[in-house]
């Protein structure tokens, strides 16, 4: 018997399943994990750890772990596989994928991943080495995180998150830091822990230090009960609420006038005839289309904003924020213009608290009070959850919310919403706003990326394919056929795929599917070759998502399994004779190069924070000139300003100022459907026991949350003759699914909340593990993305509920 050694490492994906970041101590004895603990010295989690990470001993040695590559010997969807060697599996994959590449082109292979995985870089590496630009995040409307990131990149040039001193040595005690007086929690439920590369319980730390909460949520969440103001919103109307906040803040002049004048595009002129920005090229022969026009009050003349130099054409300019101006264009026409600020105010003016109450169901007085409290609190921050992405008009919504933190002077200030970049600018692969080490060999390869030509953000910020268009193209085969799918830690039939029967048909149609995962899943039943992957404890890796910069350090080996990075690396070498790296550590070293550390050097430290005055460290970077490559103050937007009027949205022929549009399936937009389906169906509230479709097979976790649950208000339950704990059918025009009724006042009477990601790994009588039985995605359509290809209506559909007829509908209950 060997003695126990302790390996310091970092969580990410396979295992806890999450977006990672926690420092852990893995106790290893004889190549076995005997215990895992939070690392008390780690600045991220400070010794704390979630239920899913703490259950790792049950996960890593689980009897159902896949431990050998498998080859399908029956029909797709059946339980017919035989074990093969890794070499044989790689040979088959190489041969079949090369034959698809030869016959149909590399773009005919799609490379698909689930959410927040650490495989992002490695799946891109493989796709690009193979030659395909079609890397897919399998959720309809790509509706998790990247829409929000793209939206913020569009209007403010960089993403931002709430500041919990995560960049600062000593965290909250660092004198640079200020505890926010107010935080808005917009559609986020903490018990499920960590969203978007943040540690969820940092918010609890702040509450203990005095931060007061405004909660925007239709459910009575932990935060809702502890809020100064709880705004119980009707799902899908968030943009109306944000515009209502802006209405109050503008009307009562609670905005930061200095920020408005100095850092936004407020004084730019907008043409009343076209609704477009007035540009220098409209006025002067040879004038630039990149330069804009304002009116100087003191000099009583039009002045030009030179975008390249980031300055006005005259010294000491005093551009007017308001007014109507007549101007004669180069073509001799005289037109009238207004300022961007007036245009922006126009978009908010109609959203009086009374009107917003009618739309959102939030009382007008609460809207006023909450907006005032947020605007007056210094500093204040907003944390938004994934429901923001899960609506088709996501970009205008983000634009309105971004205007809130910008106009209240809370952008990149201590305790506010601070810009966030990969620590040290060490970027593994192209994410919105950043180019990584792993990229397409040349832009020509990108031409065939699905959705790229149709949707502006996919040409500028999002380097994945548009998911709904991929599924459409699998059936239409236009403009080219899709023949193969690489599906890595991704389970569309149970979790990420909306309208899963459609996904099933798509999987049936493809010629060749590779599945890489840790356990057999319903989706893997459709694969030709299955490769067994490894947990985070079984591999080396790097993590540069926001802060800190971290390494993942291999602690154990599980016989038969291989880390995703190793699988993809070996196949990349097979597909690309010019593949750039000799070893995986060469690749890690190149990713880490901007930090000045090699993998080994960083691994010794475990983690590192960017130094002061680094572009990836707050604060006041727009003032200090740390954001832009030219070193000038301002933002990385086309105009250099925070854009209240988005130049990119204008370029994409989309509305350049925020607006609210009723989503596609609500009581308001579809009164016809509402007659038959009188309840708002919301889905996807998180469980602390599970990461999406994972962990149903881990006993310590499953016992915490044993059944698929739908939350129903007592009045609604009574009306439908349903008691707590009874099995009910939730149904709409798309399909149905069965859930256990949880009768609770957590939800309002007009809405039910169904949990997602359910399949039953223990029910081995069905090769698909009953994945369509309690799958709420059966009620959610695909192809409802917004005009920019982003967002999807996951949080606001319609349904009805009824008691299940025992033993009839789904066999034995």
């Amino acid at each position: 018997m060997g003695k126990t050694t302790i390996v310091k490492t970092t969580t990410w994906s396979a295992g806890p399943g999450c977006h990672g970041g926690c420092g852990v101590l893995a106790h290893i004895k004889d190549n076995k994990l005997v215990k895992i603990e939070g690392d008390p010295d780690h600045p991220w989690n400070q010794g704390r750890l979630c239920a899913r990470a703490l259950a790792m001993t049950q996960y890593i040695d689980h009897q159902d772990r896949l431990k050998s590559p498998l080859k399908r010997v029956g029909k797709r969807g059946e339980d017919q596989f035989e074990e093969i060697s890794w070499d044989e599996a790689f040979d088959i994959i190489e041969e079949r994928m090369k034959s698809i590449r030869d016959d149909f082109g590399p773009e005919s292979m799609i490379f698909s991943m689930g959410t927040g995985r650490d495989i992002g870089p490695w799946i891109c590496m493989l796709a690009y080495a193979f030659g395909s630009p079609n890397v897919m995040f399998a959720l309809s409307g790509n509706a998790c995180y990247s829409p929000r990131i793209a939206a913020l990149d569009t209007v403010q040039g960089d993403y931002c998150v709430f500041d919990a001193a995560q960049w600062l040595p000593g965290r909250y005690d660092n004198p640079e830091y200020k505890v926010p007086e107010c935080m808005i929690i917009w559609g986020y439920n903490i018990s499920a822990t960590c969203p978007d590369n943040l540690f969820g319980h940092w918010i609890i730390d702040l509450m203990k230090k005095g931060t007061k909460i405004i909660t925007i949520d239709p459910r009575l969440s932990f935060f809702a009960s502890r809020s100064k103001y709880w705004l119980q919103i009707r799902p899908g109307t968030d943009a109306a609420l944000a515009l209502g906040f802006l209405h109050v803040i503008i009307k009562e002049k609670l905005y930061d006038k200095n920020f408005l004048e100095t850092f936004t595009d407020a004084p730019r002129l907008v043409r009343n005839d076209t609704g477009k920005l007035l540009r220098e090229s409209d006025l002067v022969k040879g004038g630039s289309t990149d330069n804009f026009v304002a009116f100087d009050i003191q000099k009583n003349t039009f002045i030009i904003w030179n975008t390249l130099n980031q300055e006005y054409s005259i010294d000491n300019a005093t551009p007017s924020l308001t007014g109507v101006f007549k101007i004669t264009l180069l073509n001799g026409n005289t037109i009238s213009c207004i300022t961007v600020w007036d245009k922006f105010q126009e978009s908010c003016v109609a959203y009086t608290p009374e009107k917003v109450e009618k739309i959102t169901l939030v009382p007008a007085l609460d809207i006023e009070k909450a907006a005032r409290f947020y605007a007056k609190a210094k500093p204040a921050s907003i944390h938004w959850g994934v429901p923001i992405d899960m609506t088709p008009e996501i970009t205008p919504l983000c634009h309105a919310i971004a205007a809130l933190w910008a106009l209240t002077g809370n952008l990149d200030v201590p305790g506010g919403n601070v810009f966030t970049r990969s620590a040290f600018n060490a970027v593994a692969y192209a994410l919105p706003g950043a180019e990584g080490v792993i990229k397409l060999k040349d832009q020509a390869q990108d031409k065939t990326r699905i959705g790229k030509d149709e949707y502006g953000p996919f040409n500028k910020f999002i380097w994945r394919c548009q998911t709904d268009k991929v599924i459409e193209q699998i059936f239409s085969e236009k403009p080219y056929p899709v023949k193969g799918l690489w599906m890595q830690t991704c389970n569309p039939l149970s979790g990420i795929g909306l309208d899963p029967k459609l996904w099933q048909k798509a999987l049936e149609k493809l010629d060749f599917i590779v599945g890489v995962d840790l356990f057999m899943t319903p989706s893997l039943r459709y694969a030709d070759i299955i490769l067994p992957a490894a947990t985070f404890l079984e591999k080396d890796g790097v993590r540069s998502w926001w802060v800190p910069l971290q390494t993942i350090n291999k602690a154990v080996t599980v016989e038969g399994c291989r880390p995703d990075v190793e699988i993809n690396f070996e196949l990349s070498q097979r597909f690309d004779p010019d593949f750039k790296w000799e070893t995986i550590h060469d690749l890690f070293d190149e990713i880490l190069e901007p930090s000045g550390m090699s993998f080994d050097e960083l691994a010794k430290k475990g983690w590192a924070l960017p130094p002061e005055n680094h572009a990836s460290r707050p604060y006041f970077r727009h003032e200090k000139g740390l954001l832009r490559s030219d070193g000038k103050p301002g933002f990385v937007t086309p105009s250099g300003k925070f854009e209240l009027f988005s130049t990119l949205r204008e370029e994409w022929n989309l509305e350049p100022v925020p607006y609210f549009k009723e989503p596609p399936f609500t009581p308001v937009s579809r009164p016809d459907l509402f007659k038959d389906y009188p309840l708002i169906l919301s889905t996807g509230r998180r469980s602390p026991a599970f990461f999406h479709a994972e962990h149903r097979n881990i006993p310590w976790l499953r016992t915490l949350d044993p059944d698929p649950v739908v939350e129903i208000h007592p009045d609604t339950a009574k009306k439908n003759n349903i008691s707590n704990g009874e099995w009910v059918v939730v149904e709409n025009w798309m399909g149905n699914a069965r859930f256990k009724a949880k009768v609770t006042k957590i939800v309002p009477p007009w809405m039910v909340m169904a949990t997602h990601g359910w399949w039953f790994p223990e029910k081995k009588d069905d090769p698909l593990f009953h994945t369509f039985e309690s799958n709420i995605n059966m009620l959610i359509p695909m192809n409802e993305q917004g005009k920019d290809g982003l967002g999807t209506p996951v949080k606001h559909l319609l349904c009805r509920i009824r008691k299940e007829t025992k033993g009839v509908e789904h066999g034995e209950i």
Binding site: E37, L49, A51, L54, I190, S191, H201, I204, P688, P699
Partner: protein, 113 residues
């Protein structure tokens, strides 16, 4: 005055988020087979006047809890206290913890079986 060595847990239920870290930390420490555990978390939806409600989570040590005697002898915090994501569990002398109760509302003091 000699200190009593009776130990207990101070539970700040205002900040318990219902994340179940305590439950699974205990399972790992003692190798409990589900559903056994030394600490559970109750979800309580309180009814308030005017049809309002209030959501509380309450960690509740079970009959199996031994307050991690072996860990605390080594100077370590009980497994649940160490991993609590909300830092809402405090281990200590019951008398000291009782004094803490005066300082902040919405807490309970638990003494072991």
């Amino acid at each position: 005055m000699a200190k009593s060595n009776k130990k207990g847990l101070l539970i700040d239920y205002e900040y318990c988020t219902g994340c179940f870290s305590c439950t699974v930390a205990c399972c790992q420490e003692y190798g409990w087979e589900a559903p056994l555990t030394g600490i559970r978390v109750m979800e309580i939806v309180q009814d308030l006047p005017k049809d309002k409600a209030y959501l509380t989570f309450l960690p509740f040590p079970t009959e199996l809890c031994v307050l991690c005697a072996k860990r605390t002898q080594k100077g370590l915090a009980p497994a649940c206290v160490k991993h609590c994501m909300a830092n809402c569990l405090t281990y200590g002398d019951l008398r000291d913890l009782a004094l803490e109760l005066e300082k902040k509302p919405r807490m309970v003091l638990w003494s072991p079986r």
